[in-house]
């Protein structure tokens, strides 16, 4: 009888393809096709790039239930796991971080790096982040207008911060930014695989230097305390270093640029944000922009370890599951008028950082960076405006992380 549950799947016809591109006319909301599925078939099998099927979960409540369910695996090497693109399995066979492992291996490795990302230790970095933001704004204002906000500000800030924390020389930024972007691109497997090799060589070399001449940074601490003592394989530290470096700047950079674009397109909200220096209101604005924009656009990828009955469906052991956090953050049952950007709403329970044991470990750093940026940029540059047609902007439809490649602004 349970077969009937799966087969009737509340809908007929071929499985829709996933992921779906956002519309350039609606760049701040999840794709219309995703919202349709959420309304009509919140647990629905979709068809992936390689022809395989996956359950797509689009409602908040079911997404949280599954993300926190120990019968769901994040192990990218497990049969049935919904690979994000051509080459991703091959890359995972070569190198995996705890992001795509299950406990207990995941917990053991994650706990090695969580200390520096704790709330109070990140809060202590706020003056330094403020100084960097002010300097980048000074430099941008001293240069020509219009300028590309991504290149002048959105990408440098999180790159500088994560470099400082990890102990990666910022002088190499053009190199690792280029390869990070390539690694996140879904449509260029060869280039992504090459980027993995290049970043692996680079960070392995850097770890060698940290072992020989430790400095006051996270990679040195991990190299001397974990690798040198045999608690961590050097190749596992390299995988962790790539994860932290890539995740540490790409996601925040996209939130800075896309967030600025969203605010420029919602002048009433921007005026309200500019008018306040209340940290609580700025923090609330950050949570709302995280919810509204949810830049991770290819879902959290999982595979069922056991049969799981949820809603009116049965997910079978071995079946692929994709948790669409962008859709869940626009679930009207949880966030009223979800497409309306409302910086005054309480959006703290959003799932933009994921949910479950894999929830973003750098989330406190992202929050403080965004609080400083959103609390400073528009006050210091009150005439900031878009220099170009918003419909013509190069959106990142082919990346795991959504955003804009460039954002021309004038002041």
């Amino acid at each position: 009888m349970t077969d009937t549950l799966t087969d009737t799947a509340s809908d007929t016809g071929p499985e829709p393809g996933y992921p779906i591109d956002r519309s350039p006319r609606c760049p701040f909301s999840p794709p219309a096709g995703l919202r349709e599925l959420q309304a009509t078939a919140p647990l629905r099998k979709v068809r992936l790039w390689n022809g395989s099927a996956a359950w797509l979960v689009t409602r908040y409540e079911e997404l949280r239930a599954l993300a926190g369910d120990p019968r769901i695996s994040s192990d990218i090497l497990r049969p049935g796991f919904p690979q994000v693109s051509l080459g991703s399995l091959e890359r995972a066979r070569r190198q995996t971080s705890f992001l795509v492992m299950d406990d207990p291996a995941h917990a053991r490795l994650r706990r090695m790096v969580t200390g520096p990302f704790a709330v109070k230790r990140i809060q202590a970095m706020r003056p330094e982040i403020q100084r960097l933001v002010d300097e980048l704004i000074d430099t941008m204002l001293a240069g020509p207008s219009p300028a590309d906000l991504v290149r002048e500000f959105a990408l440098p800030l999180p790159s500088l911060v994560i470099c400082h924390l990890l102990g990666v020389p910022y002088a190499d930024h053009a190199f690792f930014q280029r390869n990070s972007a390539a690694l996140l691109n879904r449509n260029s497997a060869d280039r992504a695989t090459e980027a993995q090799r290049i970043l692996t060589d680079y960070l392995d070399g850097l770890i060698g230097e940290k072992l020989a001449r430790p400095a006051d940074d996270l990679l040195s601490a991990l190299a001397t305390e974990q690798v040198a003592t045999g608690l961590l394989e050097r190749r596992d530290l390299t995988a962790i270093a790539i994860l932290l470096l890539v995740a540490g700047h790409e996601t925040t950079a996209n939130m800075i640029a896309l967030g600025t674009l969203a605010l420029l397109r919602h002048p009433d909200q921007l005026d309200a944000l500019r008018a306040t220096d209340d940290p609580a209101r700025i923090a609330a604005a950050v949570e709302e922009l995280l919810r509204q924009l949810t830049v991770v656009q290819t879902g959290l990828r999982r595979v069922a370890l056991e049969d799981i009955e949820i809603g009116d469906q049965m997910i079978r052991a071995g079946e692929a599951v994709i948790l669409a956090i962008d859709a869940a953050n626009h679930d009207a049952a949880v966030f009223s008028e979800p497409d309306r950007l409302d910086l005054g709403r309480d959006a703290r329970h959003h799932v933009a950082f994921g949910y479950g044991v894999h929830q973003c470990l750098g989330q406190q750093l992202a929050r403080v960076e965004l609080q400083v940026v959103y609390g400073t940029l528009y006050r210091r540059v009150p005439t900031l405006r878009l220099a170009g047609d918003p419909a013509e902007l190069p959106y990142k439809h082919d990346s795991i992380v959504y955003g804009v490649h460039e954002l021309p602004v004038a002041w």
């Binding site: 993300a67 926190g68 917990a107 994650r110 706990r111 090695m112 969580t114 200390g115 990302f117 704790a118 709330v119 109070k120 230790r121 990140i122 703290r348 329970h349 950082f353 994921g354 949910y355 479950g356 044991v357 894999h358 929830q359 973003c360 470990l361 989330q363 406190q364 929050r367």
Partner: protein, 65 residues
Amino acid sequence: MRVTLHQDKCVASGQCVLAAQEVFDQRDEDGVAVLLDDNPPAEAHDDVRHAAAVCPALAITLAES
């Protein structure tokens, strides 16, 4: 209200500290949450409920009297 924190489940997201700084802190070495007050005053209850609701690892349980 009685608060129980399951440190073995904690993934050091820091969500509880953000929600209720008077009731939760984090260990310096690995960010694992620490319970400062297992019987918080009434004015902290909403914050603690929020902390329990957003904990990604379901590591906080509450017994409301």
